[in-house]
Every structure is written in structure tokens, then in C-alpha cells.
Amino acid sequence: MTEEGGEDAAGWQADPGVALMLRVQTGDTAAFEELVRAYQGAAFGMLRRILGPRGAVEDLAQEAFLRVWRGRDRFRPKGRFTTYLYRVTYNLALNRIRDNARKPLRPLPLDPEGRPLEAASPEEHPGLEPADQEIWADRIGQALQAIPENQRAALVFQHYDGLDLTEIASILEISPQAVKSLLHRARERLRELLSAAWNSGK
């Protein structure tokens, strides 16, 4: 396993993120802006699923990209850029989860219509009525928050970000076999939590 994800050289050399990062290493701020615009959606989505509806996603996403910029000299292209970005972002998210576990939860900020602000503008899911979209967003969000953070992270990286076992292992700093075990347990628990709703057809 290599430091940035254990992929073969041909994999990361063709990665557009790595190509941009190599330009960023020369101090090219335009390349960095391009990198941010290309990967900001991935970072926001990952943080929301890991942190849940109460997480300060934007603060952490900004901090993650700032760390990528400040640590650009230390970047070594050994895997896809997403693996590197997710490792930085996940470590920040993990610290935030652990900090929040020691603090009482704040009430969610609400918009003028009384809806939680953080969930006010989700991406639309084709084939679902808007009301059903909100119901499923809450349902999946709650189910994800109900499983341990390492299982949640492994599942998010695999299902939503399409990373393979070796890449997930690199981010979580565990063995690929342990990742496989986390994924199995996460899926088992989510099936228990969501099967009733899914089978009811809503």
C-alpha cells in the first residue's frame, strides 16, 4: 500500500487532480482555484454525510482546502488526488465529531419557514417527489448517524465517492481487510434500520 492510496503509477499519473496539484506546488494559484472548483462538491458531500445535518460543513471544507494549499510542498503523488483530499478532510471531520461529542448539541438554525438551514437546499433526486426527497434525506441521514463513525466513513467513501478498499484503508489508516469488515457491518446495520421503510414503498 502506498501513502496516497496504493494505486499503480498509471492510475494517478492520469488523474486530473494530481496534474493540478503538481502545478499548485509551483505556487500557481489559478491551478489551485481550478482544483477547488473541481473537488469542492466532493468535499461538501462527504462532510455532510460524515458529520450529519448539524455539521459545519463549509467551515471544515474551507479548512481542508487551506491545509491542502499550505501543505502543497509536502504532497507526493502516489495516488488519486481525491484520496489525499479525503484524508485531510476526514481527519478534520473526525476531530470535529470528537469535539462535538464532548459538547452539548446546539439547536439547528432554521430558515424563515422553520426548516433547518443546513438541509434547506439539497440536490434534487430524480424520480422522487420533493416531499419524498426530504423524507429520504432525513431517513438516510439519521441512519448514517446511527452507525459508528468508522463504519459510516468506510461506507460513504465506497458508496458515494467510489473509492476502493485500498484507498479507503489509506484514508482511515487501517488494513483493507479491516475496511471490508467495517463495510459489512455498516451495511448490515443500515439494512436493519431502513428495510421497513424501503419495503413499505415510501
Binding site: 494559484t29 463549509e58 433526486h125 465506497q158 476502493d164 431502513l194 424501503w198
Partner: protein
């Protein structure tokens, strides 16, 4: 299939998970982030060098200018020998005597007592004269 490349096996749970929305990125996120990046860019090491070089060049110019301005001044560390104090005084009195005509135009030198003083200084008379004892002087 290679172990590390194992992909997710799709089932109803995968379809359910797909219903979780992503997170909408604020339109100005990248702009605000880049403004922070630009704000801290001048503090990085690469950009400090031109400033340091300019400061060093300025210091060298000031040192060179100071040296150049000081080249015509006498060496204050070396003592200047112009003869004994007595020689100097005699030269000054002789000079005054030689220019007596000029100096007489100055009101104070028209004073007879002062003229006498200058004449005595030239001849050496009176310098070693003992002051006669006054009859009123206490014994």
C-alpha cells in the same frame, strides 16, 4: 477480481443510499477561499526574498555613502602636533602686532592701557615684573 479493487455490490440498500442528497456548495465558496489564499500568499517564503534583497541593497548603499562622505575628514584618532603652548601664544601675539594698524580701527584697541599691554607682550617687558608692595598691604 483484485482484492483492493473490489467494488460495491448493488442491492436495494445501494438504491436507498442514493436517495441521500449531496450538499449544495455555496456559489461564492471558491471566491472566498481564494481571497484567503491571496491574503496569505505574500507571507510565504518564496515571496520574502525580493523584500530581503531590497533591504540588504539599501543598507549597502547607506554604508557606501557614509564611507564616501567621511573620506575628506581628518583622522581624529591621530593627535595633531602644532608646537608647545608657549610657541603658539607667541605666534598669536606676533600676528596681532603685525596687524596692529588694522586692529587699531577696533575701538577697544584704541585703549592706551591695552596698547601698552600689547607692546609689553612683544618686548616681554612687564611679564616678569614684580608687583610693588603697597604701603596698605597687610604684612
Amino acid at each position: 477480481m483484485e482484492f483492493g479493487k473490489m467494488t460495491e455490490i448493488r442491492d436495494w440498500l445501494s438504491d436507498a443510499l442514493d436517495r441521500h442528497p449531496g450538499e449544495k456548495v455555496p456559489d461564492d465558496f471558491a471566491i472566498r477561499l481564494m481571497s484567503r489564499i491571496h491574503a496569505e500568499t505574500p507571507r510565504t517564503g518564496v515571496h520574502k526574498w525580493p523584500l530581503r534583497m531590497a533591504i540588504a541593497a539599501g543598507a549597502l548603499v547607506i554604508l557606501g555613502l557614509g564611507y564616501w562622505l567621511g573620506m575628506g575628514t581628518p583622522n581624529l584618532r591621530k593627535p595633531v602636533l602644532v608646537g608647545t603652548p608657549g610657541d603658539t601664544a607667541a605666534l598669536e601675539v606676533e600676528e596681532m602686532w603685525r596687524n596692529r594698524d588694522l586692529l587699531e580701527s577696533w575701538e577697544l584697541l584704541n585703549d592706551p592701557d591695552l596698547q601698552l599691554g600689547l607692546a609689553e607682550a612683544m618686548t616681554g617687558a612687564g611679564i616678569f615684573e614684580s608687583v610693588p608692595a603697597s604701603p596698605e598691604a597687610p604684612r
